[in-house]
Symmetry: C2
Subunit: 346 residues, 2 copies
Amino acid sequence: MRFPVGRLEGFIAAVFEAVGAKRDHVATMAQRLIEADLRGRTGHGLMRVRPFAERVIAGGVNLDPTISLFHETPVSALVDGDNGLGPVVMTHAAETAIAKAQASGLAWVGTRNSNHAGAAGVYPALALRAGLGAIYMAVAAGNVMPPWGGVERLLGTNPMAVAIPAGDEVPFQLDIATTVASHGTIRVRAAAGEPLPEGWVVDRDGEPITDPDRVDEGFLMPIGGYKGSGLNVMIGLMAGVMNGAAFGSDVVGRSQPPDTPTNTGQTIIVFRPDLFAPAGELRAEMDRKLREMRSSGEAGAAVRLPGERAVEVEAEQRRIGIPVPEPLLADLRSFATELGLEDRLV
Amino acid sequence: MRFPVGRLEGFIAAVFEAVGAKRDHVATMAQRLIEADLRGRTGHGLMRVRPFAERVIAGGVNLDPTISLFHETPVSALVDGDNGLGPVVMTHAAETAIAKAQASGLAWVGTRNSNHAGAAGVYPALALRAGLGAIYMAVAAGNVMPPWGGVERLLGTNPMAVAIPAGDEVPFQLDIATTVASHGTIRVRAAAGEPLPEGWVVDRDGEPITDPDRVDEGFLMPIGGYKGSGLNVMIGLMAGVMNGAAFGSDVVGRSQPPDTPTNTGQTIIVFRPDLFAPAGELRAEMDRKLREMRSSGEAGAAVRLPGERAVEVEAEQRRIGIPVPEPLLADLRSFATELGLEDRLV
């Protein structure tokens, strides 16, 4: 069943209003979560409305945070989120970085005392709208694997997202976890009753786990073995440790009470794409190179580059609505009823 | 056979002096190349002396370049290398970024008209010596794979290297290609007559190639499938296109005459690790987290983190010398004789 974008955005806003979020925070939550669905990141949009709101209800989030800047320079700042809603804190950080990069060419803004901010890709996309590029990194909620060669879960799926503007072409946008599979992907397989491919999850002895019901016994695998493990640790150090945010054993997982502050850390580096060339030249050259890659398929067939799917999904969904799978719809309707919002999702 | 570090450094300097490099360039070449061996990056140290020098002899490198800064701001600059020696141009770029980051907290410096700069990890290591962190990216020399889903070789092994300072612990240092295997690794296998593991190289139909002699028919595989392919393209756009340097079909490969200018591009982002916390606190926290990961092995056994091997290799080699495998030694001695330097490597 499909719903118009505006209806779902209104529903998300109604949920966060109902649980007591401030008016401007409500709008930000609705925007960032619906943007995830619009990019095809279904695991971080509507699917997160209930868990995010339930965390608020459990007292795990500060609804009236004092979001402050520390260690501010013309090119950097640390945003202390005061345990506010993750998308709200991270949007503040992204906007701070965008303003600094517009003035200085380049900016690095980190967060601490933030929370899960939803889909990684939506933050570089904010920079794109301002004509800027960005690199975003986050310490993921919950640890799923050991450092390469270890047996203790100290690392999450730590994602990275990147955007680089183009001219007429669809801009380059990458949004990846540094593990082969995310828990969301695994849950989809489990729900479909399908075994997992080898290489996604291993047990303590490094043997593959293919039974989706045994995932919790195992470790997720990083992309490219020690290489992806290294990228994952890099993200944890840059987005966590450098900011005074949680990393390693400090990361709060699903086994802890839902009112435990997570001290989540994120980092965004925003830059002017035309640091080193006149903007017009840069745009033309980006377009030329993106087109070259796009036409590099068999017999000149089109190759899809990172970012194209997001644009296609958004265009389609704005036209014909966002599809909400039946189990999710049932769950959201039941949640709506709990909150007295049963008329909002019909 | 092992040689003292100083002797090999002196030999490298003698080679570049013999082919006509300027005095300060000679010293830089010797330092960057020997640093590669000292980090265990044997594919980018002594092994590169002959190919780098032969490119000079063939007229492919400008020995008297005017290395200039363009588009300079307090946090950014583009270094035009005027087709000078890659390690010389990139060292200039790294030093420029280090000076700017010391003053401003953060800097992004790109290169164009550079050449192959050797091991990626040696440039973030320059930042480490100044107490700074860094992210380095380079467009690799020669294309080895198509964009994900394509069949035209437009991408190289595009490496990334990262350094983050710690306190008493060995700092985090990552140095990876974004392909599963590098050509160097494959050459080592081929020399040993061993088949390649599946997942390193595929043919046009995506079928694995395990015969090392058939590598040139195939495509190297990116780490993590479409994810590593995306990182590889990101590096190419940031280190190549943004700088006006070669990317895609403009990249000069081994099939082109050795005097073809490569217009190689690199980028280095240098940052103060204590952007967001007093330096002492940051160092203590980095140490605590690195120690936690290091002791996460089976029964508390040590786990080796990225950067530790480089430090161990350097300590050992400074003590007992750098091992030079017999075929490489024979080749270097024959090259030395060609240059009238036969007394320098005995």
